[in-house]
């Protein structure tokens, strides 16, 4: 029998220690901005996710049948459950609603995120607010969160879901061609576009615009300038104006340096209706976060409401931080206490309690070898002798202290540990 399930994994203490630090930072940033955390159920009804085009493919969801034959799914995303909450239990609550979450989502196929079927996402949702300031707040919050967890050079790539539609309607392109071109533009496949437009009837300047789009991305102001030069309609101009305003605001916050603009940024999540953005780190080739505006997501529940949010991909974030070594490591120092004489167990136990009280982690164990010390990630060992205490930093020197709990504790807190750090 094989009890190994592919695509899921155990999270062991060493990793969890790092995760906890990240979780704590993220939660603090979210909560301090007014986004209170909710935990929604792991199981949701298939109905919730059915019929939302582009959200999650039906065959990519894990399905479970309950005892009444109802089909449930392991939640494939965390935005839908919050939209459900907003439209049901919080239907009459004051707006805007602000929620955050930190949970896992399940998808059976997943090309990103190291092929995990269960991945952790942390995110916020702002529901019932559709102004420029809320878009701005989301982007600033994403940058702040990434910086706080240790991403030194965060990047946010911004797009707009309406932009491609407006450009298509400007260019008078039919439905079938739109579908094909949308795919090609999303892949920045200039060759594909070149070949495809040979097959369909297009005005000359249309072809020119379509071929220009794949290489048009990067510096926000420059890209807007280039787009403005194209013969596009007032509606498209309107979308560009909105984005320009956002970029100007970001400049005011000295944050435009983190921003790139890609007019053809098309999200896998078809539910986005306006702003779309993705979070990256310079030098790392995986997605760290994605988000955007989804003003029609709650429509499904009979209420239409503006909403915007983002989610961080925790596994990718961990992978990135692990590569850069830039962890804001959990600062708790770990002690292992052992004793020479049997009757000193009590002394060891009480000293361990003192250390715990002072915010350290401490365990009493006499049989520890090097392997055990590594495995338990012990930072300091204290050996209790008849006349004195020996304090040893793992892999370091030994200091001899007086055999007195109070004095030893003071010494540990005030002197040696800080010095060693």
């Amino acid at each position: 029998m094989s009890t190994f399930v592919e695509g899921v994994r155990d999270i062991l203490p060493a990793e969890l220690r790092k995760r906890r630090t990240i979780y704590q930072i993220i939660r603090e940033v979210f909560e301090s901005s007014g986004y209170r955390e909710v935990i929604t159920p792991t199981l949701e009804s298939l109905e919730l996710y059915a019929g939302i085009e582009g959200l999650v493919d039906k065959d990519e969801m894990f399905k479970v049948v309950d005892d009444r034959g109802q089909i449930l799914v392991l939640r494939p995303d965390l935005t839908m459950p919050i939209a459900r909450l907003a439209a049901s239990r919080f239907q009459n609550s004051p707006r805007p609603l602000k929620f955050s979450y930190l949970s896992s989502a399940f998808q059976s196929k997943n090309s990103q995120s190291l092929s995990l079927k269960e991945k952790t996402q942390a995110g916020v949702e702002l529901i019932g607010s559709d102004n420029l300031e809320s878009d701005l707040e989301m982007i600033l919050l994403l940058i702040k969160t990434m910086e706080k967890v240790g991403v030194e050079e965060p990047l946010v790539d911004i797009g707009h879901a309406d932009l491609i539609n407006e450009i298509f309607s400007d260019l008078k392109i039919n439905e079938e061609a739109k579908k094909e071109l949308r795919k090609l533009l999303a892949a920045k496949n200039k060759i594909g576009i070149k070949n495809y437009i040979k097959k369909i009837d297009l005005a000359d300047n249309t072809a020119e615009i379509l071929l220009r789009l794949p290489s048009l991305f990067g510096n926000p102001q420059q890209v807007i300038k280039e787009l403005n030069k194209m013969p596009l309609s007032a509606e498209t101009g309107q979308v560009l104006k909105t984005l320009e305003k956002l970029f100007n605001k970001l400049t005011e916050f000295d944050s435009l340096k983190y921003i790139t603009f890609d007019p053809m940024l098309i999200s896998r999540h078809g539910y986005y209706t306006g702003l779309i953005f993705k979070g990256y780190a310079r030098g790392y080739s995986n997605l760290l976060a994605s988000g955007g505006r989804y003003d029609n997501l709650t429509e499904k529940f009979g209420v239409e409401e503006a909403a915007v949010g983002f989610a961080l991909e925790i596994e990718n974030l961990l992978d990135f931080l692990n590569r850069t070594g830039n962890f804001n490591e959990d600062p708790v120092q770990r002690f292992l206490l052992s004793y020479e004489k049997k009757e000193d167990f009590k002394f060891a136990y009480l000293l361990a309690e003192d250390l715990r009280e002072a915010g350290f982690a401490a365990e009493v164990y006499n049989g520890a070898d090097k392997e055990y010390i590594d495995f338990q990630q012990i930072d300091f060992e204290i050996y209790i002798k008849e006349k004195c205490l020996e304090l040893k930093q793992t892999g370091g020197e030994i200091a001899v202290l007086k055999r007195n709990r109070k004095e030893a504790l003071e010494y540990l807190i005030l002197n040696k540990i800080e010095e060693w750090e």
Binding site: I191, K278, Y284
Partner: protein, 214 residues
């Protein structure tokens, strides 16, 4: 964290052409590259790292971001169907996907049996036509399949058609043209835009001349 840009090249003929192309574009490529058994080449003067991998692995290295760019045949891209930016047709390694078999193919009573090295592309191709087929995945010498009766049709890349001819096979139908492509990791494209755009433009110039954008 910001190391040299990494380019994955498909080992073999395509890599040879790719190295030539980079040289024409003014990049300094080591002389021993294609004779050596090394798989990684650090080219400090160009701030590049080149890795040589199996053709089918190029899109994988690029999608995962281990390589920022890749050079690989369109046949492999179609089979692997990965989420990448496909930015340039390098116009070498030109060939086509075709259906071929024995000259006197009879309509089979049961499902048509198609032997191929490209099972995923073949599945999508026949599905889009609504034709049910049985796909047999082979790893080489596809031409043998109709000769031995393993399959009645093959879907394979055809360059000159000589191999088919020598084995007494004919092309039933050309499916699409193929050639080598430059692909880019979707995130690298944004996070290292300047460096990557410089490479795209330099190669574009060699392939398409100065009016590459027209």
């Amino acid at each position: 964290m910001m190391g040299n840009l990494c380019i994955a090249m498909a080992k073999g003929r395509l890599a040879k052409e790719a190295v030539k192309l980079f040289r024409q574009a003014g990049y300094n490529m080591p002389d021993n590259m294609l004779k050596s058994r090394k798989l990684i080449f650090e080219i400090e003067s160009e701030k590049l790292e080149i890795i040589l991998v199996k053709p089918a692995d190029v899109p994988i290295y690029v999608e995962y971001g281990t390589a920022d760019l890749g050079i690989v045949g369109k046949d492999t891209l179609l089979e692997e169907n990965r989420d990448l930016y496909e930015v340039l047709d390098l116009e070498y390694g030109v060939c086509e996907f075709a259906l071929a078999g024995l000259p006197d193919r009879k309509d089979t009573l049961l499902e048509r049996k198609v032997a191929t090295k490209y099972p995923d592309f073949t599945r999508r191709f026949f599905r889009s036509r609504g034709e049910p087929v049985e796909i047999i995945k082979l790893n080489g010498s596809i031409e043998l399949a109709p000769l031995t009766g393993l399959a009645d049709t093959i879907l394979d890349i055809v360059e000159t058609g000589r191999t088919l001819k020598e084995n007494g096979l004919v092309i039933y139908e050309s499916i699409r043209d193929l050639s080598a492509r430059l692909v880019v990791n979707k995130v690298s494209m944004k996070t290292r835009q300047n460096e990557i755009t410089a490479i795209i433009e330099a190669l574009d110039k060699v392939v398409n001349g100065d009016d590459g954008n027209a």
